[in-house]
Amino acid sequence: MDLNTVTEVISPAGPGAWRPGDAWLGGGTALFGEPRPDVRRLLDLTAAGWPALTFDDDGSVEIAATCTVAELNERLGKHDIVRHCCHAFLASFKIWNVATVGGNLCAALPAGPMISLSVALGGTLLLIGPDGTERRVPAAAFVTGEGTTVLRDGELLRSIHLPVAALTSRTAYRRGSLHRHGRSAALVIGRVDAEGIALTVTAATSRPYVLRFSGTSHDLEAALEAIPASEYVDDVHGRPVWRQHLTRHYAAQILAELS
C-alpha cells in the first residue's frame, strides 16, 4: 500500500544513515504490507549491492540480509531444509521474488520461516550499528518475542552465516497449519550434530526454542518443559493448547526419524 507519510527514499543507504522516523527497506513486502504512519524516510538496503551469497572455503555460507527468498531457494534449495523453509512461507513465489531473508528475520513473526532456518542450522547474524560497530549474535538469540528482536535503534542486519556442517547435516522437518499451505502454527526442525540432536521449535512459540538431546534415550517431556505454556502463541492461526500438542507430536516424530 502507499506509505503516504514517506517523504524521501535514501538509496542506497548504509550504517549511520538512520534517524528516528526512518525504516530500513529490504524488499518492501512487509513494510508496504501494513500502514506505517510513523515512517518518514525509507533507507533502501537492496541498492547497497551486497552479494546475495558468499561461500567460505569450507562451504559455509554468508547470506546477505538482502538476498531474496527466490535466490536463496534457487541456489541453496538443494538442501532439503532450505527448500522446506522457503515453502513454509504463507506468501507465494511472487513474494519470494522480492522479499528478503533479512526482512523475514527482522519482522520477527513466530511463523517467520527464515528464522526457523537460521536457528535450526545454528546460524550467526552480523549486525551493524549506526557508528559502524559490528556484533555477531546467534540466530537463536535474535528474536526475543512476537515482533521484537535484539536490534537497537539504527542497527541493521547485514548477513546470516550458516556453517557448512549444519547445512549438510541430517535434518528432519515438520510443519502444521490450520490450512494446507496456510501460515505455520508449529514448525519443528531436528538436526543431527556431534553432540546429538538439536530440536528447533518455531511458529508455535513467541520466539524460537532450541532443545538439545544427547545420547540415545530422549526424554522429550522433560525437554519440552523448557517452554513455558504461556510461550505458545495465542492468535487466529491456532489455539495455544493445539500448538503445544503439535510441537510435542512433531518433536516425537522427528526424534524417532533422526535416532
Binding site: 500500500m1 514517506v6 515512517v39 511472487k94 490450520l178
Partner: protein, 856 residues
C-alpha cells in the same frame, strides 16, 4: 524512467508510493487493488519478466526496469494464450482477480503447473471456487455450444469476457476523474460514545485539505444503510454522521482533500472529545436488565420493536402443538449452535466516486448491487428530486449481499454537494472488516422429535440474531432464516421464537443466504442426529419428511401468500445424492485418518417477499443488432449473459447481436437490484417480456416484472471427509452437490455459481471468522488474519442438475445464486460427526477446534 508495456513513463513515483498505485495513475486500470497488502494477488504484474505483487513493490524501485501489466500481455484483438485460456474456460466470475490470476498463471514454470495448489497460494478468487481457473490454466475449455439451436441452454460465455481477461473491463474506480478529491474517514475508537466536540482546525490547516465533515454537517434525517424495495423492511436508525457512535469503527468525521495523503493527515489531526457510554458486546446480554440501551432515542416509529430492550424485531409463533408432538416422539434431540461473523470479502472493496454533471445533477458511480434504491435513498437524504440524482455501477468486483447497502454513497454525496467538486472514497481492506458489514452471527437452539418410523413429530427453533449497532437487514434476515429452513419439512408441530438484537459491534448486513444458512446449519444437524439415533439413513429421513409437489409451504408466523412450489425437484436432488455417493470416487483417505460422510438440504424462495421490480427495454439498432437496457448490476452473477441468451432466442438472432446497457439509473425506469437471487427470475422475466413486446410489433419493447408470485429452488450437498486424529486436519475427499434450478439457462454458468457458493461456504465452515474482542473491536482486519479459501483449500465439487421446468420463472428457470451456500456447513458438520463421533456446534471448524473436540 519506468517502462510500462513497452512505453517509457517519465513521471517519477512518489517516495512511499507502491507500484500498483503508480501504474493505475499511469492509466493501467487492469492492475487491481484487492487487499493492498500482498495477500490476494489481484495486482500481479511482471517486473523485468518476474511476477510480483505490485501493491507491496516500492514504485521507485521500478526505475529503469520494464513492467508488464495485463494490458501489455495481450489485447482484445491479440490475446495472450493464457488470456485465451481464461476466456475459453470462463475462468472468472466478477473478474476482479482475473488480471492478477492471468499474470501469475502466465509466469508459471512447468514444475509449478504440476502443483497449482502451491503455485496459486498468492491468488485469491472469491467467486469461482477455482475449478474453472484450474481448467483455464490446464487449457480445458467449456463444452462448446456451437451448433446448438438455442442460446438459452447453451454455455455461452459472459459478454464482458474479452474485457475481463484483458484488464479492460471497467470497475468502479477504473476511470480518470480530473480534479477528484479524496475522502478519508476518522472512525470511532469507542464502542459507544457521545461526541462532545470535534476540533477541526489542525486538520483544516493541512495543505490540500478542502473540507472536514462532522455530525454538524449531516442532514437531520434517519435512514437505513440496508436497501429493499419495501423501505419498512429496515429500521431507520442511521445518520450520515451521528453525534452518537455505537460501534468501534463507526465513522466520526470525514476529511476531503486533494490527495489521499492530505486526507489521511487531516484525519490524524482531528481532535475529538468523547463522552464514553456503557456498551454491550455480547448478544446474549443485550436484553438483560440494566443493559445499555443502544437506540434509546428511537422506537416503533423508526421500525424498532422494543428499543428499550435492544430488540429490533422478533417472531414468536407456532403451528400445531409442539408439546404433543414431542410427547409422541420416540427420539428427541436438542442442541445449540453458533455461527461466526463472516465478511463478504469481495475483492473490490466498497467505494464510490461522485460529481456534479454539466447540468448540476448529482452523479454517483458506485460499487453497488442497488443503483436505483441508492438513488432513492440519496434523493431522500438530501431533499433532491429523484431525477436530480443518477447512480451508475460499472462492473462490480463481487457483492455477495455486501453491496445491498449504502455504506459510502451518502457521505460521498455530502462531500460533493458541499465542495461542488468530484470526490472519491474507496474503502481500504481493513475498513471492509471494521466499517462495512458482516454475515449475521446467530445462536440457534433446535429441538426435534421423531418416531421410529422416521416421522418428524415436532420442531422448535430458538433464534438469537446479533445485528450489531445498526439494524440494516436484521429483522428480514431473521424472518427469512426461520422460514424456508423449516417450511421445506412437513411437520405439523413447529414453534419458533426468534429475536434480533442490537449490540455495540460492527453491523451485520445482507450476506449470501440471508439467514437461511445460519438456521439451516442448526436444523440440518439436529435432523441428522435424530435420523442417526432412529437408525435411518439421512437421505431416506429427508425423503420421508420433506414437502412434496403440491404441498403448501408453511412455517410459524405470518407470511406473504405468493410463495409456492411451481416446480419440484427436491426428490431428484436426493436421488442424485443417493446414486452419486453410492459408488467409488473421490480421493482416498490417508492411512489412520477417520472417515465420515454427511449431507444436508436447503430450499430458497425465488426472490424476496413484498415485491422486487425490474424494467427492461429493447430496441433495434439496425444492422441486425439490438440494444437491451436493464437496471441490474453485473458482479459475476452472470445475469447479463442470460439476458443476452433470452433476447437472442426471442428475436431469432445470436447473443453477440445484443448490446446491453445496464446498472445506470438513466437507462430504465426502475430496478430493485441484483440481490435475493433475482437476476434471472425477476430481471430476466422483464427482459423476456420486453423482447416479446418488440417481437409483437412494438417500436421499443418494454417489459416489467414485479417479482410475484414466487417459486422455490432446492439444493442438496454431500461430503466425505477424513480427519487426522493426531492433528485435527480435515480433508474433503469428495463433494457432491445437486440443485433444482428449473430450466438450466446456462449450464457452465450455473455450475460455476454452485461451485463458487460451495467454496464460499467451505470458507465460512472451515476457516473464516471475524473476531471481536471484549471491548468490541474487530481484531481480524487483513486477509492474513482472515483466511479466505485458496486454491489448495477447495475440493472439486461434482454438480448435478434436477430436470424440472418452473411454472413461474422465465422459460422455466428458478433462482440459484445464494442457495448452494446453505447446505454446505451442516453437511460438513454431519460428515465430521460421522468421522469423529462428536457433533461440532460452533463455526468455523478449524483443525485446532476439531482436535480439541476429539480430546473430549
Amino acid at each position: 524512467m519506468i517502462e510500462i508495456n513497452g512505453t517509457s513513463h517519465d513521471r517519477a513515483p512518489r517516495p512511499g508510493q507502491c507500484l500498483r498505485t503508480y501504474l493505475r495513475d499511469e492509466g493501467c486500470f487492469g492492475v487491481k487493488k484487492g487487499c493492498d497488502a500482498g495477500d490476494c494477488g489481484a495486482c500481479t504484474v511482471h517486473v523485468d519478466g518476474k511476477p510480483v505483487h505490485s501493491c507491496v513493490y516500492p514504485a521507485f524501485r521500478a526505475e529503469g526496469r520494464s513492467v508488464t501489466t495485463i494490458e501489455g500481455l495481450g489485447s482484445p484483438d491479440a490475446l495472450h494464450p493464457m488470456q485465451q485460456s481464461f476466456l475459453d474456460a470462463q475462468g472468472f466470475q466478477c473478474g476482479f482477480c482475473t488480471a492478477g490470476m492471468i499474470m501469475t498463471s502466465a509466469a508459471l514454470s512447468a514444475e509449478q503447473r504440476e502443483d497449482l495448489p502451491r503455485a496459486l497460494k498468492g491468488n485469491l478468487c472469491r467467486c469461482t471456487g477455482y475449478r474453472s481457473i484450474e481448467d483455464a490454466i490446464c487449457g480445458r475449455s467449456i463444452e462448446s455450444c456451437a451448433g446448438s439451436k438455442n442460446a438459452v441452454g447453451s454455455s455461452l460465455g459472459a459478454p464482458a469476457g474479452p474485457q475481463v481477461v484483458t484488464g479492460t473491463a471497467r470497475y468502479t474506480f477504473d476511470l480518470d476523474v480530473p480534479g477528484v478529491l479524496h475522502l478519508k474517514a476518522l472512525r470511532s475508537p469507542h464502542a459507544h460514545a457521545r461526541i462532545v466536540s470535534v476540533d477541526t482546525s489542525a486538520a483544516l490547516a493541512v495543505p490540500g485539505v478542502e473540507a472536514v465533515l462532522t455530525h454538524k454537517d449531516s442532514p437531520d434525517r434517519l435512514f437505513s444503510t440496508g436497501q429493499h424495495e419495501r423501505e419498512a423492511e429496515d429500521p431507520y436508525d442511521t445518520r450520515v454522521l451521528d453525534e452518537v457512535v455505537r460501534f468501534i469503527g463507526q465513522r466520526v468525521a470525514a476529511v476531503v482533500a486533494t490527495s489521499e495523503a492530505a486526507a489521511e493527515e487531516g484525519c490524524r489531526l482531528l481532535r475529538v472529545t468523547y463522552e464514553v457510554l456503557p456498551a454491550v458486546i455480547d448478544p446474549e446480554l443485550a436484553s438483560a436488565p440494566g443493559a445499555p440501551v443502544i437506540h434509546a432515542d428511537k422506537g416503533v416509529d423508526e421500525g424498532i420493536c422494543r428499543a428499550e430492550n435492544n430488540v429490533i424485531g422478533e417472531l414468536h409463533a407456532g403451528i400445531g402443538d409442539v408439546e404433543a408432538g414431542f410427547a409422541a416422539a420416540d427420539v428427541v434431540y436438542e442442541e445449540t449452535f453458533r455461527t461466526a461473523r463472516v465478511q463478504h470479502a469481495s475483492l473490490e472493496t466498497h467505494g464510490a466516486v461522485g460529481w456534479l454533471d454539466d447540468d448540476g445533477r448529482l452523479v454517483l458511480r458506485s460499487s453497488t448491487q442497488t443503483p436505483f434504491l441508492t438513488r432513492r435513498a440519496l434523493a431522500r437524504l438530501y431533499d433532491l428530486p429523484t431525477d436530480r440524482v443518477r447512480v451508475i455501477a460499472g462492473r462490480v468486483g463481487g457483492g455477495f449481499g455486501g453491496k445491498q447497502e449504502m455504506l459510502v454513497e451518502d457521505l460521498v454525496a455530502l462531500a460533493v454537494l458541499r465542495t461542488g467538486r468530484p470526490v472519491k472514497w474507496e474503502f481500504t481492506r481493513s475498513e471492509q472488516f471494521t466499517g462495512a458489514t458482516t454475515r449475521h452471527p446467530f445462536v440457534v437452539t433446535v429441538k426435534a422429535g421423531a418416531t421410529t418410523d422416521g416421522t418428524l413429530t415436532a420442531l422448535t427453533l430458538n433464534v438469537l440474531n446479533n445485528t450489531g449497532a445498526y439494524g440494516n437487514h436484521g429483522p428480514s434476515v431473521m424472518f427469512h432464516g426461520c422460514h424456508e429452513t423449516v417450511a421445506v419439512y412437513q411437520c405439523s408441530n413447529i414453534r419458533t421464537d426468534a429475536v434480533t438484537v442490537y449490540t455495540n459491534t460492527v453491523p451485520a448486513g445482507a450476506f449470501r443466504g440471508y439467514g437461511l444458512g445460519q438456521v439451516t446449519f442448526a436444523v440440518e444437524q439436529v435432523l441428522d442426529e435424530v435420523a442417526r439415533r432412529i437408525g435411518i439413513d439421512p437421505v431416506t429421513f429427508r425423503e420421508l419428511n420433506v414437502v412434496r409437489d403440491g404441498d403448501d409451504l408453511t412455517a410459524p408466523g405470518e407470511h406473504v401468500e405468493d410463495l409456492g412450489i411451481a416446480s419440484y425437484g427436491l426428490d431428484q436432488c436426493l436421488d442424485h445424492i443417493r446414486s452419486s455417493t453410492a459408488g467409488d470416487g473421490g480421493e482416498a483417505a490417508p492411512e489412520g485418518w477417520l472417515v465420515g460422510e454427511g449431507m444436508a438440504i436447503a430450499m430458497i424462495a425465488a426472490g424476496p417477499p413484498g415485491g422486487h421490480f425490474a424494467d427492461a427495454t429493447i430496441k433495434p439498432l439496425g444492422d441486425g443488432r439490438y440494444e437491451l437496457s436493464v437496471g441490474t448490476a453485473e458482479f459475476g452473477n452472470g445475469s447479463t449473459t442470460v439476458f443476452a441468451q433470452i433476447v437472442a432466442d426471442e428475436l431469432s438472432t445470436s447473443p453477440d447481436k445484443v448490446v446491453i446497457r445496464q446498472s445506470d439509473t438513466d437507462v430504465v425506469g426502475h430496478d430493485t437490484g441484483a440481490f435475493a437471487s433475482t437476476g434471472v427470475v425477476v430481471a430476466g422475466r422483464a427482459v423476456l417480456r420486453a423482447a416479446r413486446a418488440l417481437r409483437a410489433g412494438a417500436a421499443v419493447g418494454t417489459g416489467h416484472f414485479d417479482g410475484t408470485p414466487r417459486s422455490v429452488a432446492f439444493n442438496a450437498q454431500w461430503f466425505r471427509v477424513a480427519v487426522d486424529p493426531d492433528t485435527g486436519d480435515l480433508r474433503i475427499l469428495r463433494s457432491i452437490h445437486s440443485a433444482d434450478a428449473g430450466t438450466v439457462m446456462n449450464p457452465a454458468q450455473l455450475r460455476g455459481q454452485i461451485e463458487g457458493g460451495v467454496a464460499q461456504a467451505i470458507g465460512a465452515t472451515l476457516s473464516e471468522h471475524v473476531d471481536i474482542n471484549a471491548s468490541g473491536e474487530v481484531t481480524t482486519t487483513v486477509f492474513r488474519q482472515y483466511h479466505l479459501p485458496t486454491f489448495a483449500d477447495i475440493p472439486r465439487t461434482e454438480v448435478h442438475f434436477a430436470d424440472t421446468v418452473d411454472a413461474i420463472g422465465p422459460l422455466g428457470a428458478k433462482s440459484m445464486s445464494e442457495s448452494p451456500f446453505n447446505p454446505v456447513a451442516p453437511a460438513l458438520a454431519n460428515a465430521i460427526r460421522d468421522a469423529i463421533g462428536v457433533r461440532m456446534t460452533d463455526l468455523p471448524f478449524t483443525a485446532d477446534k476439531i482436535w480439541l473436540a476429539m480430546q473430549g
